[in-house]
């Protein structure tokens, strides 16, 4: 992983891009119904992609009608305040210690009553590191609803952009994993470090190179991020009968 070089041009562009968000009223009416990403604070390295979350919120604001508050809000997994933020990002690099029973119970309740969790292996691990720890904890949180591959016809691949795969900074696994509660995917899990592809430094440069696809893959990762946010907000809206004929026609 290598950070991009900070240039004056990039810094100016990045700052200019954030102007529309900063100009909004800090405590505006309707803020709580806007998209505000919450970040899970766990015992490992949980805060490596905060800039990526800020960036994807900004992209959501720019590309869609969704109104956002871009600053991610970190919370302990046992915090009742989580219940004001239905979108929770759970990322990390390397393994992390087991969650407490209270955290497991709170997270289970959060997911059961409508919360959404985007998990992201920032280290691109598979069978070790973050992947191992996260799968272990998910088996405790939702023992009856194990993680399973998300099929390519799932609504998350058409919730805004029409996509076929879910690349991130890496492309270890082309598809997402998910834990379903009824018909709703309460958890989506990427082993491709999605937020790594979104992250920008304070100067506005992308923090990490994307491989193997380079910038086109980064764009797909951003689109996937927007689709995931849209899914959290709109659920299966794009599976409604009124959309299906048009979407099928577009996919031909």
């Amino acid at each position: 992983m290598s950070a991009r070089r900070l240039t004056r041009r990039n810094l100016l562009l990045g700052s200019a891009a954030l102007v529309p968000l900063l100009s909004r009223r800090a405590d505006a009416f309707g803020e709580k119904s806007r998209f505000i990403p919450a970040v899970a604070r766990h015992g490992g390295r949980w805060d490596l992609r905060l800039s990526g979350l800020r960036r994807i919120a900004w992209e959501l604001q720019r590309r869609t009608s969704v109104e956002v508050v871009p600053d991610a809000r970190p919370f302990a997994l046992g915090s009742p305040e989580l219940f004001e933020y239905p979108f929770l990002y759970f990322g990390g690099e390397g393994s992390f210690p087991a969650l407490t029973e209270a955290e497991v119970a709170n997270l289970r309740r959060y997911l059961t009553y409508g919360g959404f969790l985007l998990a992201d292996a920032n280290d691109g691990s598979d069978g070790d590191g973050f992947d191992s720890s996260f799968r272990r904890e998910m088996a405790r949180v939702l023992p009856q609803n194990p993680l399973a591959p998300v099929p390519s016809n799932h609504v998350v691949f058409k919730s805004f952009f029409l996509l076929d795969s879910a690349p991130g900074r890496l492309l270890n696994k082309p598809q997402l994993m998910g834990a379903m509660l009824g018909k709703r995917a309460a958890v989506l899990y990427s082993q491709n470090d999605l937020a790594g592809a979104w992250s920008r430094s304070e100067s506005g440069d992308y923090e990490f190179d994307v491989s193997p696809g380079g910038e086109p893959q980064r764009e797909l990762a951003v689109r996937m991020g927007i689709n995931i946010c849209m899914y959290a907000l709109c659920l299966d809206y794009k599976d409604d009968a009124v959309h299906l004929p048009l979407i099928l026609n577009k996919r031909r």
């Binding site: 239905p86 805004f160 952009f161 709109c234």
Partner: protein
Amino acid sequence: MNSPTFNAWKLVSLSPLPAWALVLLALGLVLGVALAAWGVRREPSRGRRILLWALRVGAGVAALFFLLEPGIRHLQVARMKNRVAVLVDRSASMSFPSEPGGPTRSAQVAAFLERAAPQFAALQDRFTVEMYGFDPELAPVTPASLANEPARAGTTDLLSAVRSAAGAGQGSRKLSGVLLLSDGADNTELKAGVVGRARAALADLNVPVSTFTVGQEALKDLAVEGLKVDDFAFVRNSLTVEVEIHGRGFSGREVPVVLSQEGKTVASKTVRLESSDDVKPVSFTFTPDQTGRFVYTVTVPTFPDEAVADNNSRSFTLKVIRDRVRVLLVVGRPSWDERYLRGLLRQDANVDLVSFYILRTLSDDPGVVNDQRELSLIPFPMEEIFDTKLDTFDVVIFQNFGHADPSLSIAEYERNLERYIHNGGAFVMIGGDSVLGEGRATMPTLMEALPVAAAGPANPEPFTPRLTPEGLRHPVTSIGTGAASTEAAWAELPPIPGANLTTARPGATVLMDHPHLTANGKNAPLVAVWDYGRGRSMVMATDASWYWAFAAHRDGSPNRAYDRFWGNALRWLVRDPDLTTLKVTADPPSVEPGRPVGVVVQARMADYQPAQDAQVRVELFSVTTQKPVAVQTGTTGADGVVRLEFPPPAPGPYKLLASAKKGETDLGSGEDAVAVRAVGPELSDASVRPELMEQIAKVTGGKSYKLPQDGLPDVPLLDPPVVEVGRAKDQPLWDRWYYLVALIALLGAEWFARRRFGYV
């Protein structure tokens, strides 16, 4: 004093000796005869032996005669008269002609009874002849009354009549037989024939029932029979109505059958009747498009030479209810408020959700080269949903939907929406930063139909909403099992972050308000409702009711307040019959001819408390003539309920239009439908059933006949088994001198013979 007339006699013993003494003496005599026989057993002459035996036996018999003192008892006897019941059918079908152009069936029975009068008189020696008409209660009749009083009963119940006859009559006199005069058109227990329990009941009577069938089978008639339809149907779901067209005398004819709803043809078919007595099933499948109770009628044409015209149509009421509430959800942009409302509506099996979200506005840049191929977006079909298809939705929800951008502005369709609500639709406006005074889209025409008006900038401060006194009882906010439970349920919910500032319009009902945010000196409404025209609308002046769905679970306890609130709101908006303030129910929904029309009205106040002492006015409105027929008024009791009754109206479909007031307060209006049938079961099938009459006679041991008859035939009747004893007189037989001489002569002859033969 006249000597009594004796008409019977019998031989009796007049001996004063008790029976045991007589028995002992008789045994002594037998012993004497036996000893005599024993004493002459060695007599070699067979002639002497027989002579001696005969003399002793004769003497013994003579002695026994004197001991028993026989006599003749003269008697005066009389037989008790049993009953014979003559039962005449008085049901309405007996008013039909017995044959085309002939007298009525009742008149033919009356003529027969007149002709049979001498035979009935002859029966009076042994039987009491009782003549009844049954309708189905037994009432005495005479041939004259049968001819003069038309038969009117709505049912024919032959078994009940025969049973009643067996139990009727004077004292304990038994029934020796029944003469049943009817057309056999039974429509109760024997409708299916003499089978099962009806057969056993007839056999258990142990009385011969002789039947006299009146009327000819060759009646010409077309009837709508065998109606099969559910009591209720779902709106916009297909429904099948099945009837049978029974044609007699219409062989080879094609008959049109029409199903209509209150004068409007719904469907029609043609059936071909193959034989002279044919039954053809007809089924109509149609889709009701409105909820409510409606009168439907199945009709066949009336031909000039038909026996009964009234059975050519059959009306029924059908309650059309919604199976699923069709909801149009239009969302200004994705938000958590939208996400939880969608989740709720999607999981509700009673909701058919159609939703449109504005996912991208003109100012958004998705960063794609080819919109069509890279985005899943579809055009916003404004004309389709706000014009052509608007009326197909039960509820329209705008969730923070307000765009000034011409491509997304609904200014062109605001009047459509306002009319939709006014004409009976339901609308919900959910607040946010684009509506109710926020944003640039003011939607003035649509706002006319809402119970609140924008009153200034929104307030972003978190607050705990306050339940108003009206909200405590209103079905929308009544989320508990009672007022206290509702109050407690709302109190448990977390504060919500901010509300639009609005003010209630006159006539609106504010169910929840802001505890300290005010407009025009009044607390700002959070949830307000009202009736607009024939429709209803509701405003939720915040975009954060999702806090009740998600944040309410932060402390761990499950909370269903959000689900209940929105569930209640939908039911109230679509006027769930259980949530109307004036509930009108026809009682019963289908009325037999000649019966009064009943209606139950339940009135409630705006806060859904029973409206006691409310003045209720109900109009019986004929759908056929489109004119009111009668009006009834009444006052509700403590439970808010009153039952009113109209005198029997003419057959046809009717609407019951009710309104209520309490003092000057209007409690609203409501309606129901009622079908007054043209014919009951009696006239819907007027066919003569000789086979049923034959079966009745066969099972009971009677005989079956067909009218006309010249007189009463020899019908089987049980003989009276009981004899009544009157006076008696004894005449002794033994006190004659020659009986004594005979005894002495026999004894003397035996003594002489014994001496002569050497035994003495």
